[in-house]
């Protein structure tokens, strides 16, 4: 029993999630507020995951949350496109967070400079340094110097005294201001942070839209997962080595049956990866666009826009270079004047830039589902597409391309012209018109 007690005591003293935390008041959480992206954090909690690295069955994977916000008012026609943009930003945020997680470089520069200028008495005429190096009298001047003198004199006569007085006005005012300053302290605190990475194989597992008309606030979030296996899949998609994607033992439903239905389409954005009916790792990419007017052209334009964004998301899944740069500059200038007054000026500048770029050739993608619905928030029409990619479609597209790129076979063609006798003809076609089925 004694031995057991000792063993119990040991781990308690060694227990170290050694978190040394500074004291800070939390404040109350007000009910009308909710954390940005809360639904996504709840999803992660529900799965038993945590942000960052997770391990299951000996395998590591990264879980991230990307949060975005719509900048458009709910009354605007462009609100729906603004939501799509918000999801794209959320995705970019998730990727830049992952880049920062890998490595972030921070450069810090703090400087503090103090200058004091003290004067007392009347400034004397400086005889020693102001020796006149020019001619002693007029007769000693050269012709050139006499010409300069004449021009100066004529110019002085033609310029008005008002304009003469204005010359140096700003400099004199500045000098007066400087003369009144006794000392000045300039403090500058500058921090710059950068991170960049090539992200391949980051897929979306959950996306959420939260719209609150009372505050005109629309937040979106998505939960992304990355693992080394996904990188292999993404690389296989690029290189065409589709064997890596294949596992006939893990067949699932056909891709068309895996497409979300109804209202779920409104809140589903990004690329989702899962196996198809052949057991091949495939992609479903969701995107949407607002329909600007009631015309058919407008609808088609929205569908084309959504299709382009969905296809672009597949390219981004394969490989995307992301870069983030953050800078904060704080200035504080304290000026003490000769009359005893002290002025303090502070300035803070914050700059955050994110860049993401992706390019590549997409072969074998197809629109697997098109839809038009009323948006649940604004009731305005929305068009969306689901674009799929699978190894079998990519193979088919490749062989189609090869076939069409071949030169047509010229042998066996006939140029003989034959005269025909047209016959009278009257017929039609129907299907599915059995009244018992109506």
């Amino acid at each position: 029993m004694k031995k057991l007690l000792i063993l119990l005591a040991l781990p308690c003293s060694l227990y170290a999630m050694e978190v040394f935390e500074e004291e800070f008041p939390d404040g109350e959480i007000q009910e009308e507020y909710s954390l940005d992206g809360q639904a996504c954090f709840d999803y992660i909690d529900g799965k038993g995951w945590s942000e960052g690295e997770n391990t299951r069955k000996g395998k590591s994977f990264y879980v991230g949350v990307g949060i975005g916000s719509s900048g458009a008012s709910m009354q605007q026609v462009s609100y729906i496109d603004s939501i799509q943009n918000a999801f794209i930003r959320a995705q970019m945020n998730a990727k830049t967070d992952m880049a920062e997680n890998q490595a972030k470089q921070i450069t810090s520069e703090i400087s503090n400079e103090f200058v004091q200028s003290f004067k007392e008495g009347v400034k004397p005429v400086d005889v020693v340094t102001n020796n006149d190096l020019e001619a002693q009298n007029y007769e000693e001047l050269s012709v050139y110097q006499k010409m300069k003198l004449l021009i100066h004199q004529k110019l002085d006569e033609s310029i008005s005294s008002e304009n003469k007085d204005k010359v140096g006005e700003n400099e004199r005012e500045l000098q007066q201001e400087i003369d009144s300053i006794l000392s000045q302290n300039v403090f500058r605190d500058s921090i710059e942070a950068t991170a960049s990475s090539n992200i391949r194989g980051m897929k979306v597992v959950y996306s959420n839209l939260s719209a609150k008309p009372n505050s005109n606030k629309t937040n979106v979030c998505n939960v992304v997962v990355w693992s080394e296996n996904f990188v292999k899949y993404a690389d296989a998609m690029t290189t065409g080595n589709f064997k890596v994607l294949s596992n006939p033992k893990k067949k699932k439903k056909p891709l068309k049956d895996q497409v979300k239905k109804g209202d779920a389409l409104m809140v589903t954005f990004g690329t989702f990866m899962d196996r198809d009916e052949n057991g091949d790792m495939s992609i479903l990419s969701y995107a949407q666009s607002g329909i600007k007017s009631s015309t058919s052209n407008s609808q088609q334009a929205a569908i084309r826009t959504a299709k382009l964004k969905a296809e672009r998301a597949i390219i981004q899944f394969r490989s995307e270079n992301v870069e983030v740069q953050e800078k904060i500059d704080n200035f504080e200038i304290t000026t003490e004047k000769a009359n005893g007054m002290i002025d303090t000026y502070t300035e803070e500048n914050i700059d955050r830039r994110q860049r993401a770029s992706a390019n590549g050739t997409l072969q074998g993608s197809k629109v697997i589902h098109r839809w038009v619905q009323r948006h649940p928030v604004t009731s305005r029409p929305v068009a969306g597409v689901v674009v799929s990619w699978s190894p079998s479609d990519a193979n088919f597209a490749k062989s189609m391309k090869e076939t069409l790129e071949k030169e047509p076979d010229a042998s066996g063609s006939s140029t003989e012209y034959q005269v025909i006798q047209p016959q009278e003809y009257d017929s039609g076609s129907s299907g599915g018109d059995d009244e018992d089925d109506f």
Binding site: K3, L4, L7, L8, L10, P11, L14, Y15, A16, M17, E18, V19, F20, E21, E22, F24, D26, G27, E28, I29, Q30, Y33, S34, L35, D36, G37, E51, G52, E53, I67, G68, S69, G71, N93, D97, E100, N101, Q102, A103, K104, Q105, I106, T107, S108, E109, I110, S111, N112, I191, A193, N219, E326, K327, I328, I350, D351, R352
Partner: protein, 137 residues
Amino acid sequence: MILDLLVAMMKTIFSLLILILSFSLFSQELFSTKFRIKNEGQNFFKLDAQAASLSNNIIRNNAFLSFISPEEVNKDFKSCWKKFILNRSVKIEIKKSKYKQIAINNEYFIYQTTFNPKDVNIINVSLNQFKNFCKIN
């Protein structure tokens, strides 16, 4: 007899389990602190930029933790670090840091920054340089 054996076996398994647990929990040293941003009704983009910048500020102010063990941490080192980085350019590389919004109220947005000092590398400053500076100052 069998019962005694069973009890002895369970004791052994239980004590082994505690040993294993203690090793897995041992010393995951994390620095975590909260900070707040005034709620001025700013939009998400501005708020996120402010939070990211303040988080970097906290990392910079506490980067000295990468030099010293948790037992050595005291206010003297912290104030010495503040003097050390004055009028000096310091380059830091960090992995796996994160900041997260944890609460909102009428006055403030509250965030938390977390990082492991072992994942911090101060590139252009050595431990000796810092410690010598602290001795002199």
